[in-house]
């Protein structure tokens, strides 16, 4: 009896102790870094703080998140501000709820201007301080500032950037057949037809499947065409609903894309027919190029990391490597390039000096160079040295962004209201490549544009 009673309270205690010990194993005790090892001369302008902490949240995960943390390690050491980053793939869905409940992080890295607008409209955001605004004016193309401005108030400097509208190809195949990089949209059509007749198969491979976001790679195509066919003014009107979604100019862009995506002669090389566009995952959509079953694939610069699906580095991305990419050409040769792309904006939810010091640092050319030299990403910051980028493609991307002749516009679906940009536009693409005609699809999307 005695023993039994003894055991009864022993078990929970032992269990609790075991769990406690096991959990202790999860913690990483980080020793304070030695400030003396770091050259703090560059960080003097951000001031020094005692026990200040800034919490940051965003969609960036895994390796990218580690590199992000590394990019401000010196900043933490020199200023005494400790920065705590939490990444979550549900960030975009949660941030408005968190902000409304008063639980938002100090800084949220928002990947869409549309979301930034919504947060600003909710009254949760702290406007950017003067040093941040000065940095934006000094280092960025003015269009970036517009994306972070709501009702005349600037809320954030851009962070990183990515370029959409790249067309991936095999340099070896091009050299062997004497193909030239097309300089106009017409040349691209001619090239596609040339490849089709030379190889006896379709030239393009496409993958639009992406779970509940299926269709988005198609919206990138459309955005690229709207910008190239009708220029930035029409593009801006289109994304802000200055012209209706079913405007004839947009229909023209759809038909331009449809000449590839809805054409059995053009797609879907190495995968099947047109109907397989919506079942092929965007991650694997371009891979038939590696087997020589496909020649051209339209996807953003981030696709660079998808060419070795099994890991390793057997397939190289370089102008003399396995694959490389050129930008979807403009309508007419000469003049500047038009390019669509994406980026992030670190918005602040807490009004404090340390938060602004941190955002000031993020908006500087110092941070851009620090982060880009760690690899994998680029920034549209003009103080960035292209040579620090980790690959030939990224160097090329930075040069495109920094070229004063380049017209940059943010990914249109990220600028539109969520009901269109994250729902009916995607679904419209799926229905459209599924056989619905352009006019009908555009009318449906137009009808879904929210009234307010």
């Amino acid at each position: 009896m005695r023993i039994r009673r003894h055991r009864r309270w022993m078990a929970p205690v032992v269990a609790a102790a075991a769990v406690g010990l096991a959990l202790t194993g999860c913690t990483g005790d980080i020793a304070g870094e030695d400030a003396a090892d770091t050259d703090c001369a560059d960080y003097e302008e951000y001031g020094t703080f005692d026990d200040a902490e800034v919490t940051v949240a965003g969609t960036i995960l895994d390796l990218e998140a580690d590199r992000l943390s590394e990019s401000w390690a010196d900043f933490e050491t020199c200023t005494g501000i400790s920065v705590d980053y939490q990444g979550s793939s549900e960030f975009e869905a949660q941030i408005a709820v968190l902000a409304e409940g008063g639980n938002a992080p100090d800084v949220g890295i928002v990947p869409q201007p549309g979301l930034l607008n919504r947060l600003a409209a909710g009254g949760w955001l702290i406007p950017a301080s003067q040093p941040v605004v000065d940095n934006i004016d000094e280092w960025w193309d003015p269009i970036w500032k517009e994306y972070a401005t709501v009702d005349g108030e600037v809320y954030a400097a851009p962070l990183m950037a990515s370029i959409k509208g790249y067309i991936w190809y095999s340099p070896a195949e091009f050299e062997e057949n004497g193909y030239e990089i097309p300089a106009t949209l017409d040349e691209l059509t001619a090239l596609s037809e040339q490849i089709a007749s030379d190889s006896g198969r379709q030239p393009w491979c496409v993958g639009l499947e992406s779970g509940d976001a299926t269709g988005w790679p198609g919206t990138d195509w459309i955005e690229d065409y709207v910008l190239r066919l009708h220029g930035p003014e029409v593009y801006d009107q289109w994304v802000t609903h200055g012209i209706p979604f079913n405007d004839p100019q947009i229909a023209e862009a759809f038909d331009g894309v449809g000449a590839y995506l809805k054409n059995e002669e053009m797609v879907n090389a190495g995968i099947g027919n047109v109907s397989t566009l919506v079942t092929e995952a965007f991650q694997t959509g371009g891979l038939p190029i590696l087997d020589g079953e496909c020649s051209l694939h339209h996807q953003a610069s981030f696709y660079e990391t998808f060419w070795n699906p099994d890991g390793g580095d057997a397939n190289t991305v370089a102008s003399d490597g396995t694959v490389f990419a050129f930008l979807l050409p403009p309508e007419e040769a000469g003049g500047g390039l038009q390019v669509t792309g994406g980026g992030e904006f670190p918005v602040a939810f807490r009004d404090a000096e340390e938060v602004e010091a941190f955002r000031h640092y993020l908006s500087s050319d110092l941070w851009a160079n620090n982060r880009v030299s760690l690899g994998g990403v680029i920034s549209a910051n003009k103080g960035l040295d292209p040579e620090v980028a980790s690959s030939e493609l990224l160097v090329q991307s930075i040069e495109i962004l920094q070229n004063p002749e380049t017209t940059f516009r943010f990914d249109g679906s990220d600028l539109m209201p969520g009901a269109v940009g994250a729902d009916s536009f995607w679904k419209g693409i799926v229905a459209w490549v599924g056989g619905e005609d352009t006019a009908q699809v555009l009318d449906t999307i137009e009808a879904s544009w929210p009234a307010s």
Binding site: T24, A93, I271, N273, P417, A419
Partner: protein
């Protein structure tokens, strides 16, 4: 997080538990000391209070707020836009039609199959094993079922078919079909998954109910010269009516709420969306909280008659007893 942080958090949890225990202890102490007159009411009120509080915070308040949100647009103005959208946009109407289709098919078919199966295996040799086989799918989550059936319905543009259904079609000399992309067969195929999961549930409950039907009644009917079908329709079915209603309504409610299957298999594309899936998409992906709330309200309106019917039948049963 460092070790002191973690120890601090563990301490917080322990402290929280201690405080809770103290509060509950105090409450019970005071209830015990309540005035003699009307002590029952005091005790009732105090014991119900915590539960009522949680129901109010977790259920009543959100329900009321959702109802209000359904009648507001994104700018917070009062309007009927969300309902106009729901009943005029082809995509939204299709969502409602699909949901009705789900509720019309899934509960009926799973209950009928479950009942037939339960009757056929009743008192047979190896009944236990037959039951386990049909009951197994219910242990699989909807997402898991979606992934499994995703392989059944898989389609390959070129090369061999790895999808079971297409492999069969090809083996018989047919052309492979994109099952999940072809409207309207895709919705039916998704409903099949629901039936696959829920039939086991229906079978187990109905089998237990069948065993509860008194043998005397069946024997009496047999002596009256009835055949098996007549016995089944006139003795067994009335005898298990209560269970039938519970099974049918439970599956109906589960079907109305179906979200996981649609989201994993088609994400609502290709005209397969249902109300619960669209509700999530509108509220959280499209940031149209009003539209999401309006859909939630409609779902509530759909569920309400089923629940009322269920309660009514159960009450009548009790009166008979």
């Amino acid at each position: 997080m460092t070790t002191p942080d973690l120890l601090g958090k563990i301490l917080q949890v322990v402290m929280g538990l201690v405080v809770l225990a103290a509060v509950v202890g105090l409450l019970i102490f005071f209830i015990d000391k309540a005035p003699k007159k009307g002590r029952d009411y005091w005790q009732l009120a105090l014991f119900l209070l915590p539960a009522m509080l949680f129901v109010a915070i977790g259920l009543v308040y959100p329900a009321i707020r959702t109802s209000f949100l359904a009648f507001q647009n994104n700018a917070g103005e009062w309007s009927l836009d969300n309902f106009i959208w729901m009943f005029t946009q082809p995509a939204a109407i299709r969502t409602l039609i699909n949901t009705v289709l789900w509720v019309a098919l899934a509960p009926v078919i799973s209950t009928v199959i479950g009942l037939a199966y339960a009757v056929f295996i009743d008192k047979s040799r190896g009944e236990k094993y037959y039951k386990v086989i049909l009951f197994m799918p219910i242990a699989i989550s909807f997402v898991g079922a979606g992934v499994i059936w995703g392989f059944v319905y898989d389609y390959n543009g070129v090369g061999d078919q790895i999808g079971l259904l297409n492999a069969i079609v090809v083996a018989f000399g047919g052309e492979p079909v994109q099952w999940l992309q072809t409207d309207p067969i895709n919705t039916i195929l998704l409903i099949v998954i629901m039936i696959w999961i829920q039939t086991g549930f229906a079978m187990v409950l109905l089998s237990a109910a069948i065993k509860g039907v008194p043998t005397e009644q069946i024997e009496a009917a047999e002596l009256d010269g009835t055949n098996a079908w007549q016995r089944f329709m006139n003795v067994t079915v009335p005898g298990i009516r209560g269970s039938l209603v519970v099974v049918f309504t439970t599956i109906s409610i589960a079907t109305l709420k179906v979200f996981d299957i649609v989201r994993t298999m088609t994400a609502g594309n290709f005209n397969t969306s249902v109300v619960a899936n669209e509700m999530y998409t509108q509220a959280f992906r499209a940031s149209e909280i009003g539209r999401g709330s309006a859909l939630a309200l409609i779902l509530f309106v759909f569920v309400l008659p089923i629940v009322i019917y269920n309660v009514n039948v159960l009450r009548k049963q009790r009166e008979i007893r």
